[in-house]
Symmetry: C2
Subunit: 425 residues, 2 copies
């Protein structure tokens, strides 16, 4: 029965239970963290082999290159081959770089601002620049825009991405829109999986030649169910649509091997790769090829990566099930919240009663449960309905996660009761 339909006595009972539970929560003086999509120690342990690789005497790539020395801006072919197969990108269109795909996105935006992009004429800077931001989305994408003075235009996203007609309409109406952030598979935090229709529409719509889709495939291989959504050949679709340079594909092993010490990847058209590497060559004499070799030896081949990902799933699936179970048990009947049940990725997106997300985060924080600030999934941190909360279940051990979820749901109910006037703040 929904909160709105409770009779006065039922409401009194719920108020008593909830305020009591919150008092107990405060007394427990918890210190729990649901903020970031960090792998757990057990997940990191899966890659223990990396700690002693490449191993004594292993200093050369399959092609005979001494990986310890300078050079090789494109990255080691063997690691590009493995991830090219997994991402559905030809090895010639995929480069391997250092430990952070966020860096590749940041640098791509910076270089577009300072130098422009292939086919695009003048630099983006010195003119207004806007990016479309499917929401809820990834806060670090939005931080890059905010930091570089790029105006963000939010677009609502559904389970298969944003409405492509709406995107096309916005882009056609405003040629200062130069980019869109997309997490196409198991999006952060919505879990959305862009389907082929949306993808085809995005790569086909009319847009300025310097419009770019930042296709951040951070969770391409991070399945949580047997429904393993394969990565779409977005570069092929873009080329087929006559816009080969529209898409930059990003990926990394941050949530496959080590979060801070993995390998990042950029997939793009030949013109975009030449552009990226031309700028990158001014910045460095090449990426960490020893780490490329280390990873290539660890994985062996694409199947080796899939094997690792199945073990990640074994560790993550129970945590996501726990989150769903607590949300369902505590909030399922009250009609004050909805949430996603993602088929992959790292997040559950929880929508609470409009206008209460900030208060939920505040109540939880006071009880020692750290949540990502309300609004973080929106440009400028502004969730217009103040309802979205991102839950990151991966890092805490299950008992801590359970305690945090119980506490969080108490706060969700309490904030709703406050808003309805049933509890005084």
């Amino acid at each position: 029965m929904g909160l709105a339909e409770l009779d006065p006595q039922q409401l009194d009972t719920l108020v008593a239970e909830t305020t009591g539970a919150y008092r107990e929560l405060l007394e427990r003086k918890l210190s729990l963290d649901l903020t970031r999509g960090k792998p757990s120690a057990a997940q990191l342990d899966l890659a223990d082999e990396l700690l002693a690789l490449p191993g004594a005497g292993r200093t050369r790539s399959a092609g005979g290159v001494d990986v310890r020395n300078y050079g090789g801006q494109q990255g080691l072919p063997e690691i590009r081959e493995i991830f090219g197969e997994l991402l559905g990108i030809g090895v010639d269109q995929l480069i391997a770089q250092d430990n952070s795909s966020l860096s590749l996105m940041h640098d791509s935006v910076v270089w577009a601002l300072l130098h422009g992009v292939p086919g695009g004429g003048r630099p983006w800077s010195g003119q207004p620049v806007k990016f479309l931001c499917p929401v809820p989305g990834y806060d670090r994408h939005f931080s890059i825009c905010a930091h570089l003075g790029i105006e963000m235009v939010p677009v609502e996203t559904g389970p298969h991405g944003p409405d492509p007609d709406e995107v096309a309409r916005l882009v056609a109406a405003d040629d200062t829109i130069k980019g869109i952030w997309v997490v196409p598979t198991y999006a952060n935090p919505s879990g959305a999986v862009y389907d082929e229709a949306v993808t085809r529409a995005l790569v086909s719509m009319p847009a300025a030649p310097d419009f770019r889709i930042f296709w951040d495939n951070a969770y391409a291989l991070h399945h949580l169910t047997d429904t393993e959504h394969p990565p779409l050949d977005v570069l092929g679709l873009a080329a087929e649509a006559g816009h080969p340079d529209r898409v930059l594909v990003f990926a990394s092993t941050s949530k496959i091997s080590y979060a801070g010490s993995g390998v990042s990847f950029l997939g793009a058209s030949p013109a975009n790769l030449d552009w990226f590497l031309g700028h990158a060559a001014k910045r460095s004499i090449g990426p960490d090829k020893v780490n490329h070799l280390r990873h290539a030896l660890y994985f062996g081949d694409a199947e080796g990566v899939r094997r690792v990902m199945r073990r990640h799933r074994e560790l993550l699936e129970p945590k996501f099930a726990l989150v769903s179970a607590v949300l369902e048990r505590r909030l399922g009947d009250l009609g004050i919240a909805s949430w996603t049940t993602p088929e992959g990725g790292y997040f559950v997106s929880l929508d609470v009663l409009d206008g209460t997300a900030s208060r939920v985060v505040e109540l939880a924080g006071a009880a020692g449960i750290a949540l990502t600030p309300a609004g973080a999934s929106y440009p400028y941190g502004r969730d217009p309905r103040d309802r979205n909360i991102r839950i990151a279940p991966s890092f805490p051990p299950e008992p801590e996660l359970a305690a945090a979820m119980e506490g969080l749901t108490t706060c969700v109910v309490l904030a709703a009761l406050e808003q309805q006037g049933a509890v005084q703040r």
Copy 2:
């Protein structure tokens, strides 16, 4: 006896010898490379231990941080402590980053252009920006400027750096000069060692608050003789002079451990570090801390680094001696060339007869001896006297180095004879 003083018969003999030697050189069809300051395979072998580090079960820093996960933007304290001691920089003023100090320089310039620097008001971009470039200097410094539209102003450098009065005069006369590139110890390629007087003058002179010294201490520990020039406390001297934010110190292990897989460092004032880290946090969720731990375990302590550097010296010293010996034997008497005998670093700077450097490089290239393009050590690749050639002896094995140096000196003499009209081109 100098070339100019030879009698006709002596000149004929020299012409016959030199043209004959060059013909033989062409017939040998060599393929030798003196272009880049790359460590040799034997030098890289010194760090073999790194190939299996940090080793099974080693996942935490001394402070208990799981190095495999996200975070720790400043880098691991233990590696900062070791290099802080070696560079004479307090650990609080030194951060450790990824594998390339060139990247830290590039990003510092980019962020200054886009955002300005502490105390400096508006961004550098949108106004003319110039950098002073002590010459001959490092081509990759100049590439950053050229790529980012920064005008370069060359300043002649002596054995202790440029004339500080000249630098002060230029900076005072032109407030669009926002920076100077300095390789203070065993400069690339001149071998210059900035002394305390020059250093004090540079940090003390009047300059705009957003003027920055890019103090690239790439060879701080790379001694070739028992005269080990210690790094000056340039940050302390700058603070003492009332300009704590003027200097950014860069260093790396690229020529201590691995050229592509080492650790880079930035030393700076608290305001500059906050500035750098604030921008870096938009670009990445932290550096490769596993590599920091790997290096900390390998070196152990500062003395561990010094021990490694003594072994590098053992490998490099004979190569530099060989270069000096060939230059002396083949060119010592002719009065057509002068060269440096560096006490450290990676280069010998050879000045040939004015107007012949390009021709020497061309002749050598035709004979299979690759040299850095003439002029590379000057902004825009323009050596006004066309005389400077950078010799990088580290990479080739000694027999190859010897062959390359014999060939190079033949080309130096031949180009001089051509210029004097004694040989037809």
